[in-house]
Amino acid sequence: MECVVQGIIETQHVEALEILLQGLCGVQRERLRVHELTLKSVPNLGVVSSEVRLLCDLDQQPEPTWTVKHVGGAMRGAGADQISVMVRTMIESKVSKNALRMFYSLGYKLDHELLKVGFAFHFQRNAHISVSVSSVNKMPKIHAIDEAVPVTPGMQIVVVTAPATPENYSEVAAAVSSFCEFLAPLVHLSKPFISTGVVPTAAAAAASLMSDGGGTTL
């Protein structure tokens, strides 16, 4: 299970966001370069059609590492409507590098693939929170990560996630919400699929952060 919110930011303001995050998180940023492949089951396979994501972390040494991720449905109902973050089932498993070949053999086909390039912060603030800022890139040819181009030039996606359990998701959601308020001058974060666009005053906020030399403590 995880709590998740996301938003968009103009690329020109990403540096300011990084300065803000550096001050808030108190940890080193990590490079992010992930090849994400979404696989779908062939027709007739499965009780219902299914989808699974394979993530290849291209920055790991000595060689890229792979993770399989299943993202389930979001929590619904009156309770969920009251929470400003999305709470959904999510299961991850590290896998060896031939997992893609295995899923192809099992009747899964590549639906689409993306390359996410940017940075991330992982830290503890009443919950184990991860913030990633990345450009989302598509490939003109299958698996051609070296030829990837941005899906939306000039815009990047900000995603904040935190693992949760059925017992503690309220507290985790509150921690994520509370953290997101600090980012509000630059990026508005909301449940995925509910887009709120860029923050109109982001330029001013970014200018302030940049002129401050990164010394602002919140």
Partner: protein, 220 residues
């Protein structure tokens, strides 16, 4: 990781596998100064594709299995023998498979028994039983040579140990023998240095042989 061979009991023509053979093998281990260390257990699941329309069968593998090994409690191994695929994953992959609902575990088997220390060797002898049943379907034996991780370097000493084992066991006049399947790990993309994935592949091969050669069940 030390090199390990996984052998299986092959009964003679007309004979069956039974708990008595397992007991004899255990006693044999003790007779050659094996020190009993405790129990071990592994679990193997055969997966079958779930199809919405049974009359329309896409080309999917019939030998997709998953195994959790005694030495690696936080990991799970998938093998598709016909495609020469072996994958190592976290144990949480089983939850992902349940969520996907595309494959279901239709047959599950336990391997369990005792393990013994014999100098630089570790021996595990165990029965193969379906989950929720006591009917023994087979017997397996793991032989591990602790000082060496290279398959090639360990080959001679492993062969010598198995020779000694066969000799000790032959005194008990059992109707069958333990067999080691020679297999080409390179076809599965595995190197000379031994890993748990090598064990997973050996179990998959052993099960294929057992299904093909072992006579149906005898209780007890």
């Amino acid at each position: 990781m030390p090199v390990k061979w996984v052998l299986y009991w092959q009964p003679n023509q007309g004979s069956t596998v039974s708990t008595q053979i397992l007991n004899e093998a255990a006693q044999c281990a003790e007779s050659i100064n094996g020190v009993k260390e405790g129990r071990w257990k592994a679990t193997l699941n055969y997966y079958k594709p779930m199809l919405r329309d049974q009359s329309n069968h896409p080309d999917l593998p019939r030998d997709f299995l998953g195994i959790s090994l005694a030495d690696q409690p936080s990991k799970y191994y998938f093998i598709i023998r016909s495609q020469r695929i072996v994958v190592e994953a976290d144990a949480t992959i089983q939850l992902i498979m349940e969520k996907l609902q595309s494959y279901k575990s239709k047959v599950s088997l336990y391997f369990d028994g005792f393990q013994y220390q014999l100098g630089d060797f570790r021996l595990r002898v165990g029965r193969v039983v379906p989950v929720h049943s006591e009917s023994i379907r087979g017997i397996v034996m793991e032989v591990e040579y602790l000082p060496i991780s290279s398959m090639e370097k360990a080959r001679k000493v492993m062969e010598e140990f198995v020779e000694i084992w066969h000799e000790a066991l032959s005194k008990r006049s059992l109707s069958g023998k333990f067999v080691n399947s020679e297999l080409n790990f390179g076809e599965f993309g595995l190197a000379d240095t031994y890993t748990p994935q090598h064990t997973g592949v050996q179990y998959a091969i052993v099960m294929a042989h057992m299904i093909a050669t072992v006579q149906p069940v005898v209780r007890g």
